[in-house]
């Protein structure tokens, strides 16, 4: 017995090395089985083309598997960014989750904790090589009755100074240009890794306030206001807050985006009758407080 134990102990380092090496080789040999082929992606695209409906969206899981973008139908939005499992995807009643759980360290726990609540699978999942396509009813979706980016052409924008009369802004191409270096346009930007098409606002300098006025908003069940500082400007230390104030028939909603906050800050007002909405934005450091604003009027939960 002692002899066996001694022999085992003597051979243990070599055994350990061999076992670990075999694990390494096995891992490398297995890994390619987790990679979908182009044909797998084409088949997914065909399935989506056949089954898609207005308002659908594709969510990638894990979030970084963006090779799928090369193959997806051109007009079907594809969402894949760090943190996307927590995205309510408000405007999308149905979510197609394109998952590859054969990939190592796929963040399944995050998916369960953040994506699955309020989402119900619709029908059976379909398998395309290592890819799984599952449709989910999005319990967090709401009808979007009005979106500020869709209503961009109707927005009236001005700059207000304390004690002075509002100075109107003017349209130049696709932008609204204002006094005090302020501007508003609809563009794509990143807010904490999330690509967003939003009202991109550079607030006015000199302590002035940018006022964005929509004269004829419909009745809505709630107003959802989201604002986030774009890209790396958000983390810059020592910068000031952004103050937002939304006036609507439902009342006034205040939102403060703290100076060092990365990501969207959200506020929601109660139901509002038809009438004008006015959003006011003000900050002492406008040049590095470039802010992405989404203002949506939502209907009742489905």
């Amino acid at each position: 017995m002692n002899e066996t134990a001694h022999r085992l102990r003597t051979a243990a380092p070599a055994l350990a090395l061999v076992l670990v090496a075999l694990y390494g080789l096995g891992f490398q040999l297995q890994l390619p089985r987790a990679f979908p082929s182009d044909a797998d992606y084409h088949a997914v695209a065909e399935a989506l083309t056949a089954a898609r409906a207005s308002g659908d969206v594709v969510l990638l899981h894990p979030w970084w598997t963006e090779r799928a973008r090369l193959f997806m139908p051109a007009d079907l939005p594809v969402v894949g960014y760090l943190g996307d499992t927590a995205d309510d995807l408000v405007a999308h009643p149905r979510i197609w989750v394109l998952a590859n759980e054969r990939l190592p360290r796929t963040p399944t726990a995050d998916f369960r904790a953040n994506f699955l609540p309020d989402r119900t699978p619709i029908g059976e999942s379909r398998q395309f090589g290592p890819l799984t396509l599952t449709a989910y009813r999005n319990g967090r979706s709401r009808p979007v009755l009005l979106s500020s980016i869709d209503a961009f052409d109707r927005l009236e924008v001005s700059v207000e100074a304390p004690g002075g009369s509002p100075q109107p802004c003017h349209r130049s191409g696709s932008r609204v240009l204002c006094p005090s270096d302020a501007s508003v346009e609809v563009t794509w930007h990143e807010v904490l890794y999330q690509p967003v098409r939003c009202l991109f606002v550079i607030p006015p300098s000199g302590g002035r306030t940018l006022a964005i006025h929509l004269p004829d908003a419909p009745a809505v069940d709630s107003l959802l206001l989201e604002a986030g500082i774009t890209w790396e400007h958000a983390w810059l230390p020592g910068r000031s807050d952004i103050q937002l104030q939304l006036e609507s028939p439902a009342g006034t909603l205040h939102l403060r985006v703290p100076g060092a906050h990365e990501g969207f800050f959200r506020g929601e007002s109660p139901a509002s009758g038809p009438g004008p909405w006015t959003l006011r934005i003000q900050t002492p450091n406008p040049q590095d407080r470039q802010v992405c604003v989404r203002l949506r009027g939502l209907g009742a939960a489905r």
């Binding site: 070599a14 090395l17 061999v18 090496a21 390494g24 080789l25 090779r67 090369l70 360290r105």
Partner: protein, 607 residues
């Protein structure tokens, strides 16, 4: 025990070096030009022109304005490697036309990197035998990130080589006085390679002094105490000058005849005189201290002489050099889903990244070797531990300290953490050495258990080595030439690292993966935005025929027909700006390593 390798091991070391050189050369063509490398290419070319001027018009070349003009570019780094790159380019590309421009620059980098397997084998074979030396040498080279960095005409791998060379020569010089001046020369060359080398005296001085203290008697120890007094006196003098003049004043008032120079001369002369006295008093103690003396005398001289930029303005330019590296900017770096932008950085960062980027079959012997080395070293201090795990001695300490020094230095939370593993590469050859010992123990144990005859034991060792090295080799082959993206099995490979939220890549060289597509699909004269690829690299891709010469670089997506975006978490905005400029979020192609986006290419839709 002699510290000299056997003649056969010297030949094996030489063979390993030669093989490494040719393997690097043979695999060089696919490796992209990292952002800094093209700057060094340009610097090397410029400096080569100065050397040519020196040859033809020495008086003009040696004037202050000409030197300043020639060497002002990229004076963040000293000149040794850049000079070698420039001379090699001038000879092998421009004059002989044997190689493409990039290979012309890179040949010296291959040669210097090839020193590592050679030295590791030479050292390892003496310490633990040929089997250990061979395994250690190979295990360093088959790590994907090491293999990648060994290709670059940069400074990270060269300074790892130089660090190893200095420590190895120091170790040899502790036994054989003939190696002392070579230690000094090597230290000078290390200083001339990269600023990491300024830490070498900090690491090696305790070893030399303690070794001398141990072997000498009272007379010798008195001299050593006097040397310490001189050193402390100098530090006190320096502190006084700092207090009186301030940091700025100390630098600005430093001239040839100044209190600062007086203090420095007094230090050097004082230590030199005392070293001579030690030699007279106790030759054995002097032997231990001799490499340090050589380093102190030759290192600074070589550093100064090799860099013309310092000749006329040594103090202020040196001060700038140190200041630049002491206050280096922090580049954004992704670590477990968090973009690190400023200190303090996580203390565990270096250890974790090392563990996740090493192939697991090498991580095991490296980790075990480090643990054993640390325990045995501590066994010298704690007898109870020593009885259990053995004691190390000076060489064990030397290996353990050098294996940990760069790792611990970069672990300090305010030291810049960008750059993957390249900033602590000087630790890695020592870790490979320690892995060699673990492999030797394992192979010896296997032979013993199987009661193998010597020939069969050799065969078993070769078989075991092949099995252990194979996963690392296959990983390296698989990821080449995209070494900055490499992750080991512990991370789950490249896709696992993406899910863990680790830095996807850095330095922009992965753009080579999409250049063939751009060449095939760009219209004539197309305007191309290669995100994060600087203008010099763009030019280098064109002159090395990796990118068509008719396409034009532009500075952003607004002006571009084609855009190739590097996938970094901190650059997500850049890709979104391409969507905005091109009116599409659908890429045309990309480099997707094991499914992970690395470089994503967009084409502006036809109007």
């Amino acid at each position: 025990m002699s510290r000299a390798p056997t003649p056969l091991d010297r030949r094996i070391a030489l063979g390993l070096g030669v093989i490494a050189f040719f393997v690097l050369w043979a695999t060089e063509r696919a490796v992209g030009f990292v952002r800094d490398e093209s700057v060094y290419f340009a610097g090397a070319e410029q400096f080569a022109r100065w050397w040519s001027l020196l040859f033809h018009r020495p008086a003009a070349a040696l004037s202050d304005p000409v030197i300043s003009q020639a060497f002002d570019f990229n004076h963040e780094h000293p000149m040794l490697m850049k000079s070698l790159y420039g001379w090699s380019y001038a000879l092998f590309h421009q004059t002989l036309g044997w190689v493409r421009p990039a290979a012309g620059f890179r040949l010296p980098a291959f040669a210097v990197a090839a020193l590592i397997p050679a030295l590791v084998h030479a050292w390892g074979s003496v310490l633990w035998g040929r089997r250990a030396g061979l395994f250690a040498a190979l295990s360093f080279f088959v790590v994907p990130r090491h293999f990648f960095h060994a290709h670059l005409a940069a400074f990270d791998m060269p300074v790892a080589s130089m660090w190893l060379l200095v420590v190895y020569l120091f170790w040899r010089a502790e036994e054989d006085l003939r190696f002392a001046p070579w230690t000094g020369v090597a230290f000078g060359l290390a200083l001339a390679t990269k600023h990491n080398a300024f830490f070498l005296p900090v690491v090696l001085t305790p070893f030399g002094v303690l070794a001398a203290w141990r072997v000498t008697g009272e007379a010798g120890r008195n001299v050593l105490v006097r040397m310490a007094e001189v050193a402390v006196g100098f530090l006190a003098y320096l502190a006084l000058l700092l207090a009186v003049l301030g940091r700025e004043g100390l630098v600005q008032s430093w001239q040839l005849l100044s209190p600062q120079t007086l203090g420095l001369v007094a230090l050097v002369v004082g230590l030199a005189v005392l070293a001579l006295r030690l030699r007279v008093a106790d030759a054995a103690a002097f032997l231990k201290l001799a490499p340090l003396v050589a380093m102190g005398l030759l290192g600074p001289v070589i550093f100064y002489v090799h860099w013309p930029y310092l000749w006329y303005h040594p103090v202020d330019r040196l001060a700038w050099y140190f200041d630049f590296h002491a206050t280096h900017v922090h580049y954004a770096w992704t670590y477990f889903d968090v973009v690190l932008r400023s200190p303090p950085f996580p203390l565990s960062y270096v250890f974790v990244v090392t563990a996740l980027t090493l192939p697991i079959s090498l991580l095991l012997p490296i980790g075990a070797g480090l643990v054993r080395s640390v325990l045995r070293s501590l066994g010298d201090l704690v007898p109870a531990l020593g009885r259990r795990v053995g004691t190390g001695g000076a060489t064990e300490w030397l290996l353990a300290v050098n294996a940990l020094w760069s790792i611990l230095l970069i672990s300090y939370p305010t030291v810049p953490h960008f750059g993957g593993v390249k900033h602590w590469l000087p630790s890695m050859p020592f870790l490979a050495l320690l892995a060699g010992r673990e492999f030797d123990r394992a192979a010896a144990g296997l032979s013993s258990v199987l009661q193998l005859a010597p020939r069969r034991a050799i065969a078993a060792s070769i078989g075991l080595g092949a099995v252990v090295l194979l996963p690392a080799l296959t990983l390296t082959v698989h990821v080449h030439p995209y070494g900055t993206s490499a992750y080991g099995e512990l991370a789950g490979g490249i896709p696992g690292a993406a899910s863990l939220g680790l830095q996807r890549q850095y330095w922009s060289n992965n753009v080579t993966g999409v250049l063939p597509w751009i060449d095939a699909n760009a219209r004539p004269g197309a305007r191309v935005w290669l995100h994060e690829v600087n203008g010099l690299s763009f030019r280098d891709y064109q002159r090395n025929e990796m990118l068509r010469k008719d396409v034009m670089p532009v500075g952003g997506p607004e002006d571009a027909d084609l855009a190739a975006v590097q996938y970094h978490q901190e650059f997500r905005e850049q890709e979104v700006l391409v969507w905005q400029a091109f009116g599409t979020a659908i890429p045309s192609t990309g480099l997707y390593l094991d499914e992970t986006p690395q470089v994503v290419v967009y084409r502006r839709p036809e109007r």
